[in-house]
C-alpha cells in the first residue's frame, strides 16, 4: 500500500467529510419536507374554516380557499410552500392569527438558551461521574454512582421538577419555580435564576444516562491492551488516564450528548409546562393539539433540522475523536 505524502491530510479530508455530510443532510431534509407536506395534506383540517370560524358562509370559505391557493394540485402547493418556507415566509398561525416565523424564532432562542444551560451542567457532571465510576469498577464509588444514575433515569422529569420546586422554591425560597419570561427576550445575566431549576430538571434525566455510557466506555478502554501496556511500562496512572485513555473513552458519551441536544432544545415539553417556560416544545405541542397547520409544518421542519443537525454534529465530533472514521 502506498501512502502519499500530504501537506495537511487531516484538514482536507475533514473538510470533504463535512461537506459530504452536509449534502446528505440537505437531501434528507428535502425528502422529509415532502413527507411532512403529504402528511399534513392528509390531515382532516379545513384551513378556511379554522381561519374564518364556524359562523362563516360557505361562499366566504370557498373564496378564502381560492385566495390561499389551497385548491391547486398537491405538487404545485408543495413547491409554493417550500419556496416560501426557504425565503422565511412561514405563514400565519390559524389559531393565533399571527406570523409563525417570529414566534418560532423567539421560542427557539428561549429553548436554545435553556438547552445550553442544561448542557453546561450535564457534560461536566456526567462525564466526571462516569469516569470516576469506570475507574473504580465494582468498588463503592461505582456502586453509588451506578445506582444513583439508574434512579435518575427512572424518575419522570415532572416528578424531579416538582421535587425541585417544593425544595428550592417553596421550602428554601432560593430560586423561582415560575420561569415565565412574560414577553421579555431571554437574557442569561437577567434570567439565569429562572433557568436554573428547569435546566437541572432536564439534566437529571440525561446525567444518569450519559454517566452510564461513560462508565462502560471507560471500563472497556481501561481493559484494552494498549492501556495495559502503558501501565506495565510504568507510566504514572495520571498520565495513562489523561493522555491515553480519556480520548478514546469519550468518543461514545460525546456522541450520545450531541444526539441528545435535539431533545434538549425541542423535547422539553413537560418541563416547559411545569415551569411555564416559553420554549419551543410546548409551542409545537399546542400546534399539534389544535390542528394549527402552518405551525405544525414549521415545527416538523424544525424538529427534523434539529435531529439531522445534531446527528451530523455527532458524526463530526466522532470523526475528530476517532481518526479511523475519517478515512473510512
Amino acid at each position: 500500500m502506498v501512502v502519499t505524502a500530504h501537506s495537511n491530510p487531516t484538514g482536507n479530508n475533514m473538510l470533504r467529510f463535512i461537506l459530504r455530510r452536509l449534502g446528505t443532510l440537505l437531501i434528507t431534509m428535502l425528502v422529509l419536507s415532502i413527507l411532512i407536506f403529504i402528511l399534513s395534506d392528509v390531515m382532516p383540517i379545513e384551513p378556511a374554516l379554522m381561519i374564518l370560524g364556524r359562523e362563516s358562509t360557505p361562499e366566504a370559505r370557498a373564496a378564502l380557499t381560492e385566495q390561499l391557493g389551497l385548491n391547486k394540485p398537491l405538487p404545485e402547493r408543495y413547491v409554493a410552500w417550500i419556496s416560501r418556507f426557504i425565503q422565511g415566509d412561514w405563514g400565519e398561525s390559524y389559531r393565533m392569527g399571527v406570523e409563525v416565523l417570529p414566534l418560532v424564532q423567539r421560542r427557539f432562542t428561549n429553548s436554545l438558551t435553556l438547552a445550553m444551560m442544561a448542557a453546561a451542567i450535564i457534560v461536566p457532571v456526567s462525564l466526571l461521574l462516569g469516569i470516576i465510576a469506570g475507574l473504580n469498577e465494582s468498588r463503592w464509588p461505582d456502586r453509588v454512582i451506578s445506582i444513583g444514575s439508574l434512579i435518575s433515569i427512572s424518575i419522570p422529569d415532572f416528578v424531579v421538577g416538582l421535587v425541585l420546586i417544593v425544595l428550592f422554591s417553596w421550602g428554601l425560597r432560593l430560586l423561582p419555580g415560575d420561569s415565565s419570561l412574560r414577553g421579555d427576550t431571554v437574557n442569561l445575566m437577567e434570567h439565569w435564576q429562572k433557568l436554573v431549576l428547569p435546566a437541572i430538571t432536564a439534566s437529571v434525566v440525561l446525567i444518569g444516562y450519559i454517566a452510564r455510557v461513560t462508565r462502560v466506555s471507560m471500563i472497556e478502554v481501561m481493559d484494552s491492551p494498549y492501556i495495559r501496556t502503558a501501565i506495565l511500562k510504568g507510566l504514572p496512572q495520571r498520565t495513562v488516564i489523561l493522555r491515553h485513555a480519556l480520548r478514546n473513552a469519550l468518543i461514545a458519551p460525546v456522541a450520545v450528548v450531541t444526539t441528545q441536544l435535539a431533545w434538549l432544545v425541542g423535547g422539553l415539553i413537560v418541563i416547559e409546562r411545569l415551569f411555564n417556560y416559553p420554549g419551543i416544545g410546548s409551542l409545537f405541542a399546542d400546534a399539534a393539539l389544535r390542528n394549527d397547520l402552518p405551525m405544525i409544518q414549521a415545527s416538523a421542519m424544525i424538529a427534523i433540522t434539529l435531529v439531522v443537525l445534531s446527528q451530523g454534529l455527532a458524526d463530526v465530533i466522532y470523526a475528530l475523536l476517532n481518526p479511523r472514521i475519517r478515512f473510512g
Binding site: 382532516p44 374564518l52 370560524g53 364556524r54 359562523e55 362563516s56 358562509t57 366566504a60 398561525s93 390559524y94 389559531r95 393565533m96 392569527g97 399571527v98 414566534l103 423567539r106 416538582l162 420546586i165 422554591s169 417553596w170 423561582p176 419555580g177 415560575d178 415565565s180 419570561l181 412574560r182 414577553g183 409546562r273 411545569l274 415551569f275 411555564n276 416559553p278 410546548s282 409551542l283 399546542d286 393539539l289
Partner: protein, 554 residues
Amino acid sequence: MKFDLRRSIRARNDRVKEAHSQYTQGRLSRREFLRFSAALGAGAVGVNLLSPFEQLQVRRARAAQGMTPVRGGTIFSGAYFSTSRFDDPARLDSVFASNNVRQVCDYLVTLDADLVLRPSLAESWTPSEDGLTWTFTLRQGVKFNHGKTFNADDVVFTINRLVNPDTSSAFAGAASYVTGAEKVDDYTVNIFTNRVAADFVYTLFLYVAAILPADWPGDFFANPWGTGPFTITDFVPDERIRFERRDDYWGLGADGQALPYLDAVEFVSYQDDLARLNAMAEGSIQLSNASAELREQYSALSGVSYVPVQTGNLDIAVMKYNEEPWTDPRIREAFKLCFDRQTYIDTRFLGLGIPADDHPIAPGMYPLSPADQSPRQQNYEQARQLLSEAGFADGFDLTLLYIDPQSDGGYTEPFAVFMASQLEPAGIRVTLQPDPDYWGKWLADWGPFHLGASNWSQKNTASEMFNLAYRSGAVWNETHWSNEEFDNLLTQFDQELDQEKRAGQLKQMTDLLRNEGPVMIPAFRQDAAAMSEKLHYRLHPQSFVWMGDAWLET
C-alpha cells in the same frame, strides 16, 4: 321610519309598573323585577318604584361590594386568558379570547356579576310600541383610544357589520332577527328587528358585539381601537398581553375620578394547573383559575382566597331524538333515572356544583329561570321496569361518543366514564368511544344505539340557549329534538313583554324538556378562582374578565 319616542317611553314605564305590581304581589322576585326594568332600559324607573327602605337595601348591597378603592398598581392574572385569535372582535370564538378585547372596548350594555343588565355606551333604551324598533340614547363625551369621539356612527357601523353575513360573526346566528341599525342623530340610534324579541338587549352583550369606531380599518392586532379603560401595550402570543390605563376613560370610580383604578393589567399564559398554583404561591400572579382538584392547595396558601362562583355551565348527555332507542319516551325516562347527580358533583367537581333537572336553564343564572327544581333521584328499579315495558328487559348495548381527551384536555372523559358506570346496574352496557373529530360530527345522525357526551357554557338568556340548540331545526340542535309545543312556547316567550307570562312560559318549556326531552344534564358546575386577598375583584359567572373597576390594596 317614524315613531313617537315619548309614547314609547310611556308604554315602557307602564310595563315596568305592571312588573312592579307583580313583584309586590310576590309573583316576581326583586332581582327579577330589577332585571326586567333594566332590560327595558328603565333601571332607574324600577329602582324608584321600590320603597325607600328597599332602595336603601339595593344601594347598600351595591356599596358593600367595595371599600374605598385605592389607585395604582399592576395586576398579573393567570386566569381566563387565551391568545387564540382576536384580530377581529366580531369573529371571536371564545370567552377567554374575548377578555383581551374587553379591556380595550366597551359594549352598549353590560351584564354585571349579578347577571343584571346595566347601561354602558348606551345610557338608556326603549322599545317601540310594536316592539320591532329599539331606540338607544348614547353616552356623550366618550373618546376612543385613537382620538375619535364616540357617536351614533360607531354604533351603526358596528351593528351593521355584525349582521352582515360577510363578517362571519356569531352575532348573525344568535340574533338572526336583528336586521340593522340607523342613525337618528349624533347620540340616538335605532336598531331594527324583524320580530319582537323581548331579550334583544341582552344580545348586545354577546362577546362579539364590542363597539368599534366607524373608521376602524380592520385587524385588531394592528389597530386595537376602543373606548375601554385600557390600551394594549404589549402582546406576545401565548405568553402575555399587557394593558395600561388610559387617563381619559369615561367611567367614574367611587372616588369620582376616572376609572380604572389600576395602572396596568397583565394576562399571563399558564397551560399547567401546577405551574399556575406555583405562580400564585410565589405571588407572581394575583388571580388564577383554580380547579376543584387543587382547592386544598390553594386554600393553604397564605394571603390567597379560594372563591367558588356558580355558573350555568353544564355537561350534557345527548340522545338523538330521531334515532333508536331514544325515540321511545320510556327509554329516555329510564336513562335519566340511572344517575345519582350528587355523586357526580362530589366525585367530578369535589362538591363544587348544584344538581340539575335535565334542562339547561340553571336556577338564578338566567332571567326568569324557575327557582323550584326537583332533580330526578336515582331509581334503578323504576328504570328497569320502564326498560322492560319498552321491550328491553335485558337492557341494551350502547356506544358512547365523546370528545377525545387529547382535544379537550380530558374534560369530558370523566363524565363519560361516570355515565358508563351508572348505566351498568340498569343493564345498559356502554362502550366508550373517544373521538378526536367529535365536533366534526356532533350535529349529524350517529346511527341507532349511540349516546353522546358534550358540554355547553352558559348563555345570557334562556331564549338564546333554546334558539341555538333546542328549537326544531336550530343550527346547533345536537339532539334533533323537535317538539311543536316547545317551539310554539319559545316563539311566544320571545315575543311576550309581560314578565309574569314569560316566567310561566319558561317554566312550561323547562318542564317539557325535563319530562320528555332528549338530554340528561346532571349538574351545573361551579368555577373557582384563587385570588390574592389584596385584590378587589368580583368574579363573573360567565368567566368574563373586566379589570375596569378592580383594585389592589397596598
